[in-house]
């Protein structure tokens, strides 16, 4: 791989990688079982450079912000590279958000440029708030012929001849503004510097190197910190290849492993569990004799891989299982959400290591990772090189808030010095997660100090961001909490949002109110929905400016109601 210590910015590292491995395949894009595109680094450059020139011709200046909203595909990475080459700051947004949420974050980020997929742009154009957006240039991908684009350019036609100027950035300059959450409520735009990314890449590849020939299957959205690093920057600076799928249907994801002989993939727990379900169903279909042989092979594999993974040996012991994953898989990487140990153990016993890690956008990509020496299903691994972790105010069991200090920790929250000061204290990032170290310096997580949940799909959900959906609800007042925040639990299971309802005097919780709650809940994306409610019989404590004192209210609810009082919605 390139020696990243010699670079001050991502653009320069990517540029040199492209020059170093011109004939290696860097991107494969497939839609279902149809391969749509295969690019070498040289092809990638040919797509990107005319677009850098075009961006500079429409006045993209160093430091200008450019947003991308697209599903995982080659145009995402080409556009991102073009933005970095010209010295721009990338604002990667989650394509799964609604048009209203996209508009809110685009306004918050003050992005002057936007690269967006047609179906998303269509939804943004149709939104009543569309008129508030002020862009210099919008590029729309895959727009059908004759479609109305409200002045946007077609990405495919947006290219100019001539050499663009490469703009070098300094380590402390912003590379990306990544929204860790905050749609609907208080946007949290994490400003990550070039140094943050370069250091993270050095640390990750020290433990899990890429090399030419490695194929990384990119399933997590590329705007997500993990995929941006291990599905773009990491493979590119090592001459490796990224495989994009235009669909996340489980059968096509399974098929991609064998079709493209995938080496690494990052998965959220939901996908890993789905793969586990699929494998178990296949095992259940085996005859008694074959099942017996399989279980014997698994038992032998477990014995031989107790101290460390031996993937080559496992492939020989369990050839059919490994063939289903393409026969080249080195490890499944999980992160961004918390994984059930039984699922990780299931795969490890089959000879497929699961590398569990822990991180948050504010800390870069990952703070800890399992080094598989040996495999541990009950921890999120050890601090990566260059990451210092400590446990603040540990209780008698050694459990306290995890704080991190590292060159990978973000610079600040965009336009929010108050929140930044609360989050980064004396150089330490307060994660809001509760954990402790075991005797082998592995970090174990036990819950959350902060009022938020992480879904099985890896989404951070802050209750405040969901409350807008209940505006105008016919009750006196309401508030949403993470259940584990109200009723602290030293476990990360059963995460859900709970609505605390204060009814008007003499008001009853009737069917009409229930129907309204259900309808509003359904209007939210499935991962943001409230799981249940409790009826509260006192006015909420409020500040002088009438804001709800959430901490105080949570404490009152905790003291008077059990978690079992929550009624499911």
């Amino acid at each position: 791989m390139l020696d990243l210590r010699q670079y001050t910015c991502l653009g320069a590292a990517l540029r040199d990688a492209i020059e170093r491995w011109p004939n290696e395949t860097c991107l494969i894009e497939a839609d279902r079982d149809r391969e749509k595109q295969r690019l070498t680094f040289s092809d990638f450059k040919d797509l990107a450079i005319p677009r850098v020139r075009a961006l500079q011709d429409v006045d993209l200046k160093p430091g200008d912000r450019a947003a991308i909203i697209m599903t995982n595909q080659s145009k995402w990475l080409v556009s991102a590279y073009a933005i970095f080459y010209a010295g721009g700051v990338l604002v990667p947004l989650d394509y799964k958000l609604t048009a209203a949420e996209h508009i809110q974050l685009l306004l918050h980020s003050k992005a002057k440029y936007l690269v967006v997929e047609y179906y998303l742009w269509r939804a943004i154009m149709q939104h009543p708030q569309f008129g508030n957006l002020k862009f210099r240039t919008v590029l729309v991908t895959e727009a059908p012929a004759g479609s109305e684009l409200a002045g946007a350019f077609r990405w495919e036609e947006f290219r100019r001849k001539g050499d663009p100027e490469f703009v070098n950035r300094q380590k402390q300059d912003a590379a990306c503004i990544v929204y860790s959450s905050g749609t609907g409520g208080r946007p949290k735009g994490c400003v990550l510097t070039h140094e943050n990314y370069l250091e993270q890449c050095i640390a990750l590849t020290a433990w899990y190197p890429f090399w030419p020939g490695v194929r990384y299957l990119s399933i997590l959205p590329t705007n997500h910190a993990i995929d941006f690093m291990v599905g773009f920057i990491g493979p590119f600076v090592c001459g490796a290849c990224v495989v994009h799928l235009r669909t996340l249907r489980p059968e096509y994801v399974r098929d991609a492993f064998s079709r493209y002989k995938i080496t690494y993939v990052s998965l959220v727990p939901m996908v890993l569990k789905n793969l586990e379900r699929g494998l178990k169903a296949k095992f259940d279909e085996l005859s008694k004799a074959k099942r017996f042989l399989l279980e014997r092979a698994i038992a032998i594999n477990k014995l031989l891989t107790r101290k460390r993974p031996r993937v080559a040996l496992s492939r020989k012991l369990l050839p059919q299982v490994h063939a289903a994953f393409g026969g080249e898989l080195q490890a499944l990487i999980t992160g961004g959400a918390f994984m059930e140990p039984s699922t990780m153990q299931f795969f490890y016993d089959l000879g497929i290591p699961v590398v569990n890690g822990y991180g948050l956008t504010e800390g870069g990509t990952a703070l800890t990772l399992n080094d598989l020496k040996p495999f541990r299903a009950d921890t999120v691994g050890k601090p990566l090189p260059g990451v210092e972790l400590r446990i603040l105010n540990p209780d008698a069991e050694g459990i306290g808030e995890v704080a991190a200090r590292s060159k990978t920790v973000m610079s600040h929250y965009l336009d929010d010095p108050e929140l930044t000061a609360q989050t980064i204290v004396d150089g330490w990032l307060l994660t809001g997660d509760l954990g402790r170290f075991d005797g082998d310096h592995h970090l174990q997580l036990f819950g959350r100090k902060k009022n938020m949940i992480v879904t099985e799909g890896g989404k951070n959900i802050y209750p405040e961001d969901v409350e807008n959906a209940f505006d105008g609800l016919a009750v006196k007042e309401y508030c949403i909490f993470a259940a584990n925040y109200v009723w602290p639990s030293k476990s990360l299971g059963r995460e859900m949002l709970v609505l605390v309802l204060r009814l008007e005097n003499n008001q009853e919780f009737n069917q009409e109110l229930r129907n309204d709650l259900n309808a509003r809940n359904r209007s939210l994306p499935d991962f943001k929905r409230v799981g249940g409610y409790v009826i509260w019989d006192k006015d909420f404590p409020r500040t002088a400016s009438m804001k709800i004192k959430r901490t105080e209210l949570a404490e009152e609810v905790r003291n008077r109601l059990q978690r079992s009082a929550v009624v499911g919605l």
């Binding site: 179906y119 996340l248 249907r249 489980p250 059968e251 996908v271 259900n518 359904r522 994306p525 499935d526």
Partner: protein, 96 residues
């Protein structure tokens, strides 16, 4: 007179254009069979995540089965923000 359109339904063939009601009814039947839920428990405005007890990946799996059934291709984004059978039926109907 409108021409008759032929839609493949498993091994059988439909020889007339479906109405949205028919499309919806077939979706409900297919969901009930696939996820082993009594058909009478499913109604058009049900939140299918909740009624079927499925996550978003299983919903994508349902979309694949619907593609095969209706012989259309539905991009994943057609399911984005959709959680009830009725809206799903209208998305499919527009592609038939």
């Amino acid at each position: 007179m409108p021409s008759l359109t032929c839609h493949r339904l498993g091994n059988a063939h439909y020889d007339t254009m479906r109405t949205q009601e028919q499309t919806l009814d077939e979706i409900l039947n297919l969901a009930a069979t696939h996820f082993k839920v009594p058909r009478e428990k499913l109604t058009p405005h049900d939140d299918f995540f909740k009624t079927l007890g499925i996550d978003s990946l299983q919903a994508l799996d349902l979309l694949t089965r619907l593609e095969h059934h209706f012989n259309v291709e539905l991009p994943d984004y057609e399911l984005q923000g959709v959680s009830d059978f009725s809206t799903l039926a209208s998305r499919i109907q527009s592609r038939l």
